[in-house]
């Protein structure tokens, strides 16, 4: 496959960074984006660590932005997805889509529930 495959949380972070774009993606905005779209509670520390790991792998690059008053005059560290990162996102989502295929997920859930109650 060649491209790095991403864990679920990393995938969410990468997708948020892609959606926000290189001028608006940073830890706080990524946390808000994931929280708003998935309804999951996301810890800022986890996003911070994930971004650090992704940067080490070369999947994202970072730079300091302009100082902002709402941040007490401090700049955010803006995140841009690298080419390699975009490839990893692509490979991971394709793998998921391939696995989902034409599987009807609603029926699958009902079937799984029935199996459990019998067991």
């Amino acid at each position: 496959m060649g491209s790095e495959s991403l864990a679920e949380f990393e995938l969410l972070v990468m997708l948020a960074a892609l959606r926000l774009g290189p001028n608006e993606a940073y830890t706080v905005s990524i946390v808000e984006d994931i929280r708003g779209r998935t309804g999951r509670s996301v810890r800022r520390a986890n996003v911070f660590t994930a971004l650090r790991r992704l940067e080490e792998k070369g999947l994202v690059s970072t730079r300091l932005g302009d100082p902002r008053p709402e941040r007490g005059g401090r700049p955010p560290r803006l995140v841009a997805v690298t080419g390699e990162g975009a490839a990893a996102v692509h490979a991971t989502t394709r793998a998921i889509q391939a696995m989902v295929g034409d599987l009807a997920l609603g029926e699958a859930r009902a079937a799984a529930g029935a199996t459990e109650s019998r067991g």
């Binding site: 706080v28 800022r44 911070f48 007490g72 401090r74 560290r77």
Partner: protein, 911 residues
């Protein structure tokens, strides 16, 4: 609005230069957003939690030389196990945190025990430091010093030092602006309106230069105000200005009433300024006008600021030299006087007991060790259930030190969490206790108490937490990993049951706790119920129909010689007799009486001896009684019946030999029912008082409601006739008045003030209250202290019970679970269940029984033999019974579990 300072500091320290902007900006942005959406309180909590989370993430950063973080997995545990190093790692702490939620019983009870232990130790240190070594919240406050004159012959401070002050003020070079003050109480208010007592200081104007605090309005006192013949002026404190003058911004230049005279307000000081201690107004101390001989005059306190460049030692040397010179020049008065320079606050609290106060700390360490050894019992039982895990670790090659380090880390997490809660409670409660302490000892709250936690206290709490963790984690760990055990532990599937056993030490610990609970709980219950009873104690008369007040008067100028004092005492008596006359003219008022103490108040309690009055039975041993001086109308005013002899008469104050009246309890307890009339009593002490003849016995009036927890409101009492000399209170005179009022006594209070003002505007009235309430600040504080002490005792007792139950439970649970197979097999073989139960219970009962026995014996020794109680044995039996039942219940659960085991299961485990 911005994020908490500690969070910025913490993350700033951890983030490193390349990440600091990012991390702090994120913190700021998130916090501000939260404050806007959820309000400040919730936002602060959430930000605090997130900051700790972030801090943990930053600690795991590889940049700072730590291991790269991975999700902790079995691989981590394995690698931690393999390590031969004994150091505590981050992972150990994380595993320790996990243990807290896995064993909630140990966490809650153990955490509570450690919280109490660490909290007590840290709280004590905080209070001692706040009391003995406070920070003076003034500019360069540590350079303000006090000059105290010590009387080496009496071993007491000598405060009549005006003469010396004038000498020192001119000569001392190492202290600048040497100042003096004396506390005064004056009726203060608008000239036309109500003037009520306020506490102020007659102070040399230089004192305001010492404090370096500017006036909020107008000016402070200046040197001209202190010159002889200067117009009378006053500077008001912020609190007084707000309460009595409604914060009037135009007050400067106004004339106000000040005792018998008036004065012009020249300034108002800012909020919080109550220098020298807790003073609300300041007038100039005109020392130049006072020409007192050495060791005469009013008591004053002297202070100043160390001159630039001068040290405390230099000032000490200079004053010592001046002291030696005075001793040579004035040997009659100054031979034993030693001036000494002390940090300012030591003028009031003294520094002598400092060493002892810190030595008591050792006791708290012992308490912590006892509590921690309890937790060790529980931790040992828990460790035993983890034999397999420990065995696997040994098998993987972990050293003993490595495993001990992990057990220590687990206990440390618990201890640190407990210490954090303990310190938080101390932060809330210590200020309150210090203020109470001041109220009890000095009856005032000094301005320098700020209620903030000392950093030393936090460090000390950390130290105690580590100590507790060593006892609770390492000691059981040492037992659980004894070299002999390792080989067996290495085979976790071994079928022969556990290799671990509880030693006799744990049993002893449980026994000691049960004994402690027996000893502490009944007195605590008695004290609490006695306090509740004190609120309803029968005073012997309808307390809600009487109004009372304390009346005080100061001489305008401190008298220089004793004869002037006698004159002043006569003037005071004339004033209060005039007040009595005017009161009796009021409709609805009757039975006006004066006394030094009124029923229901805290009374002085001397020791007295009684002689047989010539009957040949000799003199009794000193006995403790309560005493008060009352005027002849006292018994009539409260409707106390004369049981034998007579009451007091107007000539009794001058009677020779002196006469007294005693109450019925005195006859019952001290004379054991024999006739009192004609017998003589005297107070004991270094110099015994004169013999006084008992001329009458009156029915009991509540003399004290708190002092004797076993018999609230009752006690042997002596009534002396009221003499002028009884009314001296420092330089001033003080007496209490009480009278019957038809209707609501509280509603009569304003009229009483009016009448007193009409008699003399400088008569001060305090605590104008109906007699059904705690009568003065002393009484209220005393009740507060009694309540605090008894609830604390009850709490300690309850926790001792809780911990001993938890200890018993964990030991029993452990022992029974070790015998489960054996029990199962015995049942399978047809053994009698009752016999099995008896065998299992006997050990626990032995421990609890031993504790009860020791506790009861100690109880009898202290309560019955030493303190002379005896009618509370029912309560003791009940407590012991309840403890026994609770102990049985603690054993019951594991035993039931063992009895329910199926024989087949038991046999399968053996196979």
């Amino acid at each position: 609005m911005s994020a908490p300072g500690w969070a910025r500091w913490l993350l700033g320290r951890l983030a490193g230069a390349d990440r600091v902007d990012e991390v702090l900006g994120d913190l700021e942005e998130t916090h501000r957003d939260r404050v806007a959406r959820r309000g400040r309180p919730l936002a602060s909590v959430l930000t605090a939690l997130e900051t700790l989370d972030m801090a943990a993430a930053l600690l795991r950063e590889p940049r700072r030389g730590r291991r790269a973080f991975r999700t902790p997995a079995r691989a981590d545990i394995r690698s931690a196990s393999r390590s031969k190093r004994a150091a505590v790692s981050w992972l150990d702490l994380k595993l320790g945190a996990r243990m807290l939620s896995r064993y909630p019983g140990v966490t809650i009870v153990g955490g509570l025990a450690m919280m109490i232990g660490v909290g007590l130790g840290a709280g004590y240190l905080e209070i001692v430091n706040d009391f003995l070594h406070p920070n003076l919240p003034l500019e360069d406050g540590d350079r303000i010093v006090g000059v105290q004159t010590w009387d080496a012959a009496e071993n007491d401070p000598e405060l009549r030092t005006l003469h010396d002050f004038l000498v020192w003020r001119d000569e001392v070079a190492s202290i600048q602006d040497l100042s003096a003050y004396r506390s005064i109480e004056r009726n203060l208010g608008p000239t036309g309106g109500d003037a009520e007592p306020a506490r102020g200081a007659e102070i040399t104007p230089s004192a305001f230069r010492v404090t370096r605090v500017r006036a909020l309005l107008g000016r402070p006192l200046i040197d001209e105000d202190g010159r002889e013949g200067a117009p009378p002026v006053v500077v008001l404190g912020h609190r007084l200005w707000r309460s009595r003058f409604g914060g009037d911004a135009g007050i400067v230049g106004e004339r106000v009433r000040l005792g018998a005279s008036t004065g012009v307000v020249v300034g108002v000081m800012p909020e919080g300024f109550a220098f020298p201690v807790s003073h609300d107004f300041w007038t100039p101390l005109q020392v130049d006008a006072l020409s007192y001989a050495p060791r005469e005059g009013p008591p004053i306190r002297i202070f100043g600021r160390l001159a630039p460049g001068a040290t405390l030692e230099e000032a000490r040397a200079e004053l010592t030299a001046l002291g030696s010179r005075a001793a040579a020049d004035l040997p009659a008065t100054h031979e034993h006087l030693r001036p000494r320079v002390v940090p300012y606050t030591e003028l009031f609290v003294g520094g002598g007991g400092s060493g002892r106060a810190y030595a008591v700390q050792f006791l708290f360490v012992v308490v912590l060790l006892i509590l921690a050894s309890n937790v060790a019992t529980m931790v040992f039982a828990r460790t035993a259930t983890r034999e397999n895990e420990i065995g696997v670790r040994f098998a993987l090659g972990a050293s003993r030190g490595r495993i001990l380090a992990q057990l220590f880390a687990e206990a440390l997490v618990l201890a640190l969490a407990a210490a954090a809660i303990g310190v938080a409670i101390v932060a809330q409660g210590a200020g309150w206790v210090t203020r109470l302490f001041w109220q009890v000892t000095e009856r005032e709250t000094p301005f320098w108490l700020d209620g903030r936690l000392n950093p030393t206290t936090v460090l000390y709490a950390l130290l105690l937490a580590v100590l507790a963790a060593v006892v609770a984690g390492v000691l059981p760990g040492l037992r659980a990993t004894r070299p002999g055990l390792q080989t067996r532990l290495g085979h976790p599937a071994g079928a022969s049951g556990s290799a671990m056993r509880f030693g006799g030490l744990w049993g002893a610990v449980i026994a000691v706790q049960v004994a402690l609970a027996v000893l502490v709980l009944p007195p605590a219950i008695i004290a609490i119920s006695a306090l509740a009873e004190a609120e309803r104690a029968d005073a012997g008369f309808p307390t809600d129909e009487y109004l009372s007040a304390r009346i005080e008067l100061d001489p305008e100028r401190p008298p220089a010689d004793p004869s002037a004092g006698e004159e002043f005492a006569a003037a005071f008596e004339a004033r209060y007799e005039e007040l009595r006359r005017r009161l009796l003219e009021e409709p609805g008022v009757s039975g006006v009486t004066f006394a030094t103490r009124l029923p229901g108040m805290d009374h002085p309690n001397p020791f007295v001896q009684v002689d047989s009055g010539g009957a040949g039975a000799g003199i009794t041993a000193p006995r403790w009684v309560m005493s008060t001086s009352v005027d002849p109308t006292f018994f009539d005013a409260f409707g106390a019946g004369i049981v034998a002899g007579r009451g007091l008469r107007s000539g009794d104050a001058a009677a020779d030999p002196p006469v007294v009246v005693v109450n019925e309890t005195f006859v019952r307890q001290i004379l054991r029912g024999r006739s009192a009339i004609g017998r003589r009593v005297r107070s004991t002490g270094r110099v015994p008082g004169p013999w006084q003849e008992i001329v009458g016995v009156v029915s009991d009036l509540g003399m004290d409601t708190d002092r004797d927890a076993f018999h609230p409101g009752r006690g042997p009492g002596i009534y002396h006739p009221l003499r002028r000399g009884d009314l001296a209170a420092g330089g001033s005179r003080s007496v209490r008045v009480a009278f019957h009022v038809r209707g609501d006594p509280a509603a009569f209070a304003p009229r009483l003030r009016e009448l007193a003002r009409a008699v003399d505007p400088s008569l001060r009235l305090y605590d104008v209250l109906p007699l059904d309430r705690p009568l003065d600040a002393g009484n209220r504080t005393q009740r507060l202290v009694a309540r605090f002490a008894s609830w604390t005792t009850a709490l300690v007792g309850a926790i001792a019970v809780l911990i001993s139950i938890a200890g018993t439970y964990s030991v029993m649970s452990f022992t029974v679970s070790r015998q489960t197979r054996e029990i199962g097999i015995r049942i399978a073989l047809g053994a009698d269940r009752r016999r099995i139960v008896r065998a299992v219970f006997s050990r626990a009962m032995l421990q609890i029984g031993a504790g009860l026995l020791v506790g009861t014996a100690a109880w009898f020794y202290f309560m019955v033999y030493v303190l002379g109680g005896g009618d509370e044995i029912g309560l003791l039996v009940t407590t012991a019974g309840v403890l026994m039942l609770v102990g049985l219940a603690a054993c019951g659960v594991p035993v039931r579990r063992a009895l329910r085991i199926q024989p087949t299961e038991a046999l399968r485990e053996v196979g």
